[in-house]
Symmetry: C2
Subunit: 261 residues, 2 copies
């Protein structure tokens, strides 16, 4: 314990507090996602096991990069394996700061573009890297809930589908010729294995496109509160005009199924 | 002439060739967009005038950044002014290479993310910067046609609308408190002043969201051929199920109006 990295300790303290909160107010908090520190993969795996088995966590949350390292780095494999082992979802939250500049002539991302569009961009790239590294072939049925309804994937399914079919033709620095043939299914299929949440700041047309892409059983209600308005987020889902059973799936049914509540 | 920057000369040569092509095959090429080099703003303005008045160009094409400098830099003001003066459209094409890395731990953008999602990301940021600098207040009615149906804006209208209403609250490095109050209209309104093209690699749900956002009079047919399939791009518009008059607007009417054909 003395040599445990601080971040792993902090994750454990946080998860203990979440479990306490859920125990105290089960009517408001039916479950929680465990925090993990991927700086310490062994510690993260142990903490995931402890949180799920010992504290009743209903999944784990990770970030789209770990100190600048992408999630397809083999070192993170055990984290996905432990989620698959417990058949519980991974919440994938974007992580980017203004340190990622938008223009070569600027030293940082200005006008808050880093979160507004940078987060969905980073989510899209992380999803693609996870698909291309064969994650869903190694763990069929792995459940990953993507924030902001799947980043840019639903809007740009054509670019990732038909566009990426020519992967390697635009980039000569690396040989990508084996990436798509290494996958068991057409690459666009895997993107529908992800789940998208409804945290869209109340946006309507995007939510509809996200639902069209992922399907009604792969969209999970979420608000992003307190950053985004709860009432508007609910209204946006209602205004999709879904049949009652489908609306119930999005609002709670899918979450109950995934979280095994 | 002897001291004219090479890029301005190249633009002129290119535009002459385009005019020649249009003159030779008017049934196939009813007009062209003039190339400009924004490295040389005075030269670009002069070339825009020459191309429009002398060669019959129906607008100009510019890129989302100029050697890493964003388009809201005041130095580029005259280029937008000359387009407004002629009331002809600006085609805004994304410009980004693998040199823009996706992760702090990588030196370049891998797996062609730089074009697949990087181009729409860069388009979104460029649109935002142009709105925030008051471009549409200085030039009401300015016509800018954005590639790939407006980047991420239609899918994330909630993030830019309700989300950016708190501009400045997430970033303490710069004072953004005067940006939104400096605009004459609510900031999201300006994003609907742009036009979106239909170059979506045949994607359906995104195109629908783009049409919902921009409106039928602000969506212009385009294919991205030869990179993207023409037949699929046509089918995607047809499958929107628009009334015939609206479909005609998207396929040709809006272009004829904007280009004054």
């Amino acid at each position: 314990m003395a040599h445990e990295p601080a971040a792993t300790l902090l994750a454990r303290v946080g998860n203990d507090a979440m479990a306490e909160l859920c125990a105290k107010h089960p009517d408001r908090f039916p479950g929680f996602a465990a925090a993990l520190s991927l700086h310490d993969v062994d510690g993260a795996v142990a903490e995931a096991r402890r949180a799920v088995r010992g504290l009743g966590a209903r999944g784990v949350q990770i970030y789209t990069n770990v100190a600048g390292i992408p999630l397809d780095d083999p070192r993170f494999g055990p984290v996905f394996a432990v989620a698959a082992e417990h058949d519980l979802p991974i919440w994938l939250h974007p992580a980017r700061t203004s340190a990622m500049a938008d223009y070569a002539g600027e030293s940082r991302s200005r006008y808050e573009m880093w979160w507004c569009f940078g987060w969905p961009y980073e989510t899209s790239v992380a999803m693609t890297r996870l698909v291309f590294c064969g994650l869903f072939d190694r763990h069929p049925g792995l459940k990953i809930i993507t924030h902001h309804c799947g980043g840019m994937i639903p809007y740009y399914d054509g670019r990732i589908g038909a566009g990426m079919a020519f992967l390697g033709s635009r980039d000569k620095d690396e040989d990508y010729s084996k990436v798509l043939p290494s996958l068991k299914r057409p690459h666009l299929d895997y993107f529908r294995d992800f789940y998208g949440d409804t945290a869209m700041f109340g946006g309507r047309a995007g939510l509809k496109a996200g639902l069209d892409f992922f399907g009604v059983d792969h969209v999970i209600f979420a608000t992003d509160a307190p950053l985004a308005p709860i009432v508007e987020s609910i209204a946006a889902v209602r205004e999709l005009g879904l049949p009652p059973a489908a609306a119930e799936q999005v609002f709670s049914g899918n979450a109950k199924r995934l979280l095994k509540l």
